[in-house]
C-alpha cells in the first residue's frame, strides 16, 4: 500500500524558533516523493471519473445520448441527473444547507435538469483508465435548450439588490456615524470609482478527490482541501454517514489560496461514484474545469467618497460595492472591513449591492475583501496626498489609527509606523520626486508607489497532541494542512524548542482526520493556532512529568513545589538551583513509562498571558483586561517603469515590511510575503477572466490565456519584518501572514503608475490598452 513520506534535512540548532530554516518537507518536494491527493494510485481497482460540463450558462437538459460513450471499452458507469444516486442531505434543500459546514457547497449539480452556469456538471463518466474515461466523455451527447443568461452585474438584464447579509454574517449596510452628512460638509471631497476584474485562484495543483470505500461504513477520501475536518463533516452529512466513518487525508496540497477551503461538487461526486461502481474513484478537474469548479474572485465596482479637512485629516468614508454573485447565494467579499478600520476616520458608511448572474458562486480568494478594498482606500489616499501636496506616508501618519476606529478598542499590537519607516529606508523613498510624471529613465517613465497592508486575526481553535518517548524522539500531531505555507516546518521548530529536542527527533504529522481536530488552514489562522496548540501540548507533557517527579523519592525534584521548577532544554530543574534537576528520560525510566502524551487546545485571537516556556506558566488564561482589536499590519513599496508608447508596466523594485507578531521562520515567512506580493502584482497588471457578455461563458479559461506572473515579470524583492511581541493574540504571539502579504499590493502598483505618469488607472488589471487609454485621456 502507499507509504508515507520520510522527512529529513534542516540543521538542528538550539533555539530553532525564529531561525530561517529550510523546510522539513523540502526534501520530499524537490525529489518528487511528496504525495498529493491525486497520487494514491495503488488503491485496488482504482478507476477514473471525468466531469462533463454544460457548454451553456442557462437552460435545461433536454436529452442525453450516452449510447456511443457507453459502448467504449472500459466504461463502468455514466451518471446524469437522471440516475445519480441521491444525497442524504443536499445544499439545494434550504433546510439541509444550513446544516452543512461548508458554505462553498451551496449548490449541488446533477439533481435536476436545470443548468445555472457554464461548466456546471451535467454528466460524469467513470472508466477503468483515464484514457477510456476521456474517450467516453468526448462521445457523450448532452442536449441543452439554452435560455438568455445574466452574465454579470453589468448586464442589462441584471437586477441589483442590497442583501440583508453577505457571506451569511456581514451586514449589507454598515453605518458608523453620519458619513454622508460629514462628506457633504467636508472641505476636501474626493469621489472615485474602482473596477476589479474577475480573477481565479489557479493553484498549480487542480482540484482532485480520490475516494475509497474500505468497507460499506468506512470511507477514506484523499482530497485537495485546506481543511480536512470541515470536509469530513460536510461529506458525512451529505452522504448520510457518521462523522467517524469518513476519513479525509491531505498530506500535501499544491496551493489553495481560498479555493480549496470549501467542499465543491467534485469532492462529493467522487465518493458517490465510488460507491456506485464498487471501486475506488479518482476525480481530477481539468484546468478549464478549475475555472468553473472551485469558485472565483468576483468582478466588482467600488465607489469611494472620501471627505477630509484641508490639512488632510479624514472626516468621512462612504463606500459602495457592486458585484456579481451566483443564482443561489448572497456572496460578496467584505471590502468595507478594511476601509472602515485602516485610518482614524470618525465616520463610515458601506453598502453592498449584488446581482444574481449565471456564474458559479464566488468564494474566498487570498485576503477576501481586504485585497480589493485596499485598492480603493489606498488609491484614494494617494489621490488625497497628491491633491494636498503631502507625501503619501505623511498623510497616512496624519490619519494613523491609534485605536481601532470601528470599536474604540486598543490594538493587541501595532507596529505600522515602524513598517513605514523601515520600508521607506529600504526602498529609498526619500529619492521620490514629490511631483508625479517627472522621473524618466531613457524613454521610460519611472514611478514610486506605496500602500498600507492590514489583515485581521480571525478567531479559531484546534487541538494538537504530543507524544514524547523516553528515547528522546517525539511525534507531534494536528489535523492541519500545509498549503505550502510552512506548517510542517514551523510546528517542528516549535515542538523542538518546547521539548528541548533536536528537530530531527521530531516528527510532525498533519493532514488527516485521524489526528486531533483543528480548523482549516485559511484566513491566515493556521500558523498562530496550530503552533500555539503544539506549544501548549508540550507544556502538558512537562506538567505530567513534573507530577511524577515530585512524588518520586529517587528524583532530585522530590517534594519540590511545581511553581519552583522550570524546564530548560529537556530538563526539569529548580529555578533557584538549576543544578538540581533531571532529564525526562530518567523520570520516565524509573516510572516505567515508554512515553508521555500531552494534548492542548490552541486558540487564535482568543487572548493569552505572555507565554513562557515553563511548566508553571498559567496557560490558557484569558486576558481579563479590556478587549483588544487584533490585526497584522505592513507596508508595500513599488517602483515601476511605464513605457508611454506601449502602455506596458514593469515592476522593477519591490519592498515589503510586515509586522505580524512573532515570526516563527523568516525563510518561509519571506516566501509567503513575496508570494502574496506576486499574486497581487498579477492582479494589478495581467489577471482577468473574461466572461462573454452574451453567453456568460469564459473566453480564456486556460493558463495560456489567463496570465499569471512568470519569472520574467518579477524583479528582486526585499522583505523585512518588524519584531513584534503580542501577548494577547495567542500563546505563541503569532499573527498570520499568508493574506496580509497581498493586501495593498494592487494599490502600491497603481500608485507607482500614477507617480510615473501623472494619470490614475482605476481599472484592474492595468493592461497596456488601459494604461494607454488613460495616458491619452484629456486632462
Amino acid at each position: 500500500m502507499d507509504t508515507e513520506t520520510q522527512f529529513s534535512d534542516t540543521i538542528p540548532q538550539p533555539g530553532v524558533v525564529g531561525q530561517p530554516l529550510s523546510r522539513v518537507d523540502g526534501w520530499a518536494k524537490v525529489t518528487g516523493q511528496a504525495k498529493y491527493s491525486a497520487e494514491y494510485n495503488r488503491l485496488p481497482g482504482l478507476s477514473y471519473a471525468l466531469i462533463v460540463g454544460s457548454d451553456v450558462a442557462k437552460g435545461r437538459v433536454t436529452s442525453i445520448d450516452a449510447g456511443a460513450a457507453q459502448r467504449q471499452p472500459g466504461v463502468l458507469a455514466i451518471f446524469t441527473h437522471q440516475n445519480l444516486p441521491k444525497l442524504a442531505k443536499s445544499p439545494n434543500n434550504p433546510d439541509d444547507r444550513r446544516a452543512l459546514a461548508s458554505s462553498g457547497m451551496s449548490f449541488f449539480p446533477l439533481e435536476s435538469d436545470q443548468v445555472y452556469y457554464a461548466g456546471q456538471p451535467v454528466a460524469v463518466v467513470v472508466a477503468d483508465t483515464l484514457e477510456h474515461a476521456q474517450a467516453a466523455a468526448a462521445l457523450l451527447r448532452v442536449s441543452i435548450a439554452p435560455e438568455v443568461p445574466v452574465s454579470s452585474y453589468e448586464a442589462k438584464n441584471a437586477e441589483l439588490y442590497v442583501p440583508k447579509t453577505i457571506r451569511g454574517y456581514a451586514p449589507g449596510v454598515t453605518k458608523r456615524g453620519e458619513a454622508q452628512a460629514a462628506f457633504a460638509s467636508a472641505p476636501v471631497q474626493l469621489t472615485a470609482t474602482y473596477v476589479h476584474a474577475t480573477t481565479h485562484h489557479n493553484p498549480m495543483e487542480p482540484g482532485a478527490t480520490t475516494a475509497h470505500w474500505e468497507a460499506p461504513d468506512r470511507l477514506t477520501v484523499y482530497d485537495t482541501t485546506q481543511g480536512v475536518s470541515e470536509t469530513q463533516k460536510t461529506l458525512a452529512a451529505m452522504l448520510g454517514l457518521a462523522q467517524d466513518q469518513v476519513r479525509v487525508i491531505t498530506k500535501y496540497l499544491g496551493g489553495g489560496f481560498g479555493c480549496k477551503a470549501w467542499v465543491w461538487p467534485h469532492v462529493v461526486l467522487a465518493p458517490l461514484l465510488a460507491k456506485a461502481v464498487g471501486r475506488p474513484v479518482k476525480l481530477v478537474l481539468t484546468r478549464p474545469q478549475q475555472f468553473t469548479g472551485m469558485g472565483l474572485r468576483e468582478e466588482q465596482t467600488q465607489t469611494l467618497k472620501l471627505g477630509a479637512t484641508r490639512e488632510g485629516k479624514l472626516l468621512a468614508l462612504v463606500h459602495e460595492k457592486t458585484s456579481t454573485t451566483s443564482p443561489w447565494e448572497d456572496w460578496a467579499e467584505t471590502n468595507g472591513r478594511i476601509i472602515n478600520m485602516l485610518y482614524a476616520c470618525p465616520t463610515f458608511e458601506g453598502t453592498y449591492r449584488l446581482a444574481h448572474a449565471n456564474v458559479m458562486t464566488p468564494t474566498s480568494t487570498r485576503a477576501p475583501g481586504d485585497m480589493p478594498g485596499s485598492f480603493a482606500i489606498e488609491c484614494s489616499m494617494d489621490d488625497l496626498a497628491a491633491q494636498l501636496n503631502l507625501d503619501p506616508i505623511q498623510l497616512r501618519l496624519l490619519n494613523y489609527a491609534e485605536v481601532d476606529p470601528t470599536t474604540g478598542h486598543a490594538w493587541s499590537s501595532k507596529s505600522l509606523k515602524e513598517c513605514y519607516a523601515r520600508g521607506a529606508e529600504l526602498f529609498g523613498w526619500n529619492r521620490r520626486n514629490p511631483k508625479a510624471g517627472q522621473t524618466r529613465e531613457g524613454h521610460l517613465l519611472v514611478g514610486y508607489g506605496m500602500a498600507t497592508a492590514s489583515y485581521p486575526v480571525h478567531g479559531s481553535q484546534g487541538t494538537a497532541r504530543v507524544r514524547l518517548y523516553a528515547d528522546g524522539h517525539a511525534v507531534v500531531q494536528a489535523g492541519a494542512t500545509d498549503l505550502g505555507t510552512g506548517t510542517y516546518t514551523i510546528n517542528t521548530q516549535v515542538a523542538a524548542d518546547a521539548l528541548g529536542l533536536p528537530m530531527q527527533n521530531i516528527r510532525f504529522e498533519l493532514g488527516d482526520t485521524n489526528l486531533p481536530t483543528t480548523q482549516w488552514s485559511g484566513g491566515s489562522t493556521a500558523a498562530g493556532r496550530v503552533s500555539s496548540s503544539v506549544y501548549l501540548a508540550c507544556q502538558e507533557v512537562w506538567q505530567k512529568l513534573l507530577k511524577v517527579a515530585v512524588i518520586d523519592k529517587k528524583s532530585p525534584l522530590y517534594g519540590a513545589k511545581p511553581e519552583d521548577v522550570a524546564v530548560e532544554k529537556g530538563r526539569l530543574q529548580l529555578k533557584a538551583n538549576p543544578a538540581k534537576g533531571e532529564g525526562y528520560a530518567d523520570i520516565m525510566q524509573r516510572a516505567s513509562l515508554s512515553d508521555v502524551e500531552g494534548s492542548a487546545l490552541g486558540k487564535y485571537g482568543a487572548g493569552y498571558e505572555a507565554p513562557k516556556a515553563t511548566a508553571n506558566a498559567n496557560m490558557n488564561k484569558k486576558e481579563d483586561a479590556a478587549p483588544h482589536s487584533m490585526h497584522a499590519f505592513g507596508a508595500h513599496f513599488c517602483e515601476v517603469h511605464v513605457d508611454p508608447e506601449l502602455g506596458t508596466v514593469r515592476v522593477t523594485r519591490w519592498v515589503s515590511v510586515m509586522s505580524a507578531g512573532r515570526i516563527l521562520n523568516p525563510k518561509t515567512a519571506r516566501s509567503q510575503v513575496i508570494g502574496g506580493s506576486i499574486f497581487g502584482i498579477g492582479a494589478a497588471l495581467m489577471e482577468q477572466t473574461v466572461r462573454d457578455p452574451h453567453l456568460a461563458r469564459y473566453t480564456n479559461a486556460t493558463l495560456a490565456d489567463y496570465h499569471v506572473c512568470t519569472n520574467a515579470d518579477i524583479p528582486n524583492m526585499t522583505v523585512d519584518f518588524i519584531d513584534e511581541h503580542d501577548p494577547y493574540v495567542n500563546a505563541m504571539g503569532v499573527k498570520g501572514i499568508g493574506e496580509i502579504s497581498i493586501v495593498g499590493v494592487t494599490a502600491a502598483v497603481a500608485n507607482a503608475v500614477y507617480h510615473a505618469t501623472g494619470k490614475r488607472v482605476r481599472s484592474l488589471p492595468m493592461t497596456p490598452a488601459r494604461v494607454l487609454a488613460t495616458l491619452h485621456e484629456p486632462a
Binding site: 534535512d9 529550510s22 523546510r23 518537507d25 523540502g26 526534501w27 520530499a28 518536494k29 524537490v30 525529489t31 518528487g32 516523493q33 511528496a34 504525495k35 498529493y36 491525486a38 497520487e39 494510485n41 477514473y48 483508465t129 483515464l130 484514457e131 485562484h201 489557479n202 493553484p203 498549480m204 495543483e205 487542480p206 500535501y252 496540497l253 499544491g254 496551493g255 489560496f257 481530477v284 481539468t286 484546468r287 498549503l483 505550502g484 505555507t485 510552512g486 525563510k667 518561509t668 516566501s671 509567503q672 513575496i674 508570494g675 502574496g676 506576486i678 499574486f679 486556460t702 493558463l703 495560456a704 499569471v708 506572473c709 512568470t710 519569472n711 520574467a712 518579477i714 528582486n716 524583492m717
Partner: protein, 210 residues
C-alpha cells in the same frame, strides 16, 4: 532590452514540443505531402505506416532503466508516468503545455511530458525528477532549491527543477534577466520566482567555476 535573453544562433534549443516546434514539424510534413511528384514518397510513407489502435507493448528507457508496459497509442508520456507507472513526481498542472509542471528530460533536453505521446518517446533516454538524485544525495539543483526555498506548495517544483537543470546546461542562466526569461515556461502560483532565480543562478555560477 534583454539581448542576452535571446537564443544565440548556435545554442541548442529546448525540445519543448511547443506550438512553434509543432508547427515546424507540421509544416515539414505538409510541404512533403505537397511536393511533386506525389506518388513515390506517399506510397513509400504508406508502406511504412502502421495503424496502431488499442493497447500495445511500449518500452521506455526511464531514469536509466528499461521499463515495459502496456499502453494505448494515445497515452501521453505524462499519463504513462503518473497513472501507469506511479511515478507521480512529474506533475499535471494544465495538460496542455501551458504551465511547465510536467517538464522532464528526453535525451537531455527539457520536454513537456503532457505534449509527448509515450509511444513516441521509445528509444529515448527519459529522466524524471525521481531520477535526478544519486541515491540519497540530491542533485545540486535540488539542494539549491531547498536552500533558497525555491518553492512553497511544491507542485510546480519538479518541473521547475528539471527546467532549471536544462536551463543551466543550455547556457541560459548566465545573467539574472536571461535566467528569468528562460525559466518563464514554468509557472509558480505560490510566487517563488526570486528564490528560484537565486537557486538556478547559484548552480549556474558553480558549474561555470567547476
Amino acid at each position: 532590452m534583454q539581448s542576452d535573453s535571446l537564443p544565440a544562433a548556435n545554442t541548442p534549443q529546448p525540445a519543448d514540443d511547443s506550438r512553434r516546434s509543432f508547427m515546424k514539424q507540421a509544416g515539414g510534413i505538409l510541404g512533403f505531402a505537397l511536393a511533386v511528384p506525389l506518388a513515390g514518397p506517399a506510397e513509400a510513407l504508406a508502406a511504412r505506416t502502421q495503424v496502431a489502435a488499442g493497447p500495445g507493448s511500449v518500452t521506455l528507457r526511464l531514469n536509466g532503466q528499461p521499463t515495459t508496459l502496456t499502453l494505448e497509442p494515445r497515452t501521453t508520456l505524462l499519463d504513462a508516468l503518473r497513472e501507469h507507472l506511479d511515478l507521480t513526481g512529474t506533475k499535471k498542472g494544465c495538460d496542455h503545455g501551458q504551465c511547465g509542471a510536467c517538464t522532464v528530460h528526453v535525451d537531455g533536453r527539457r520536454t513537456l511530458a503532457c505534449l509527448t505521446l509515450a509511444v513516441a518517446a521509445q528509444g529515448k533516454e527519459i529522466t524524471t525528477i525521481e531520477g535526478l538524485a544519486t541515491g540519497s544525495e540530491l542533485h545540486p539543483m535540488q539542494a539549491a532549491f531547498l536552500k533558497h526555498d525555491g518553492f512553497q506548495c511544491g507542485y510546480c517544483t519538479p518541473g521547475q527543477i528539471m527546467s532549471a537543470v536544462a536551463c543551466v546546461k543550455e547556457g541560459h542562466a548566465s545573467t539574472d534577466d536571461q535566467c528569468r526569461e528562460w525559466m518563464s515556461g514554468n509557472l509558480c502560483r505560490c510566487g517563488a520566482y526570486p528564490n528560484i532565480l537565486a537557486a538556478v543562478r547559484e548552480v549556474a555560477s558553480q558549474s561555470a567555476k567547476g
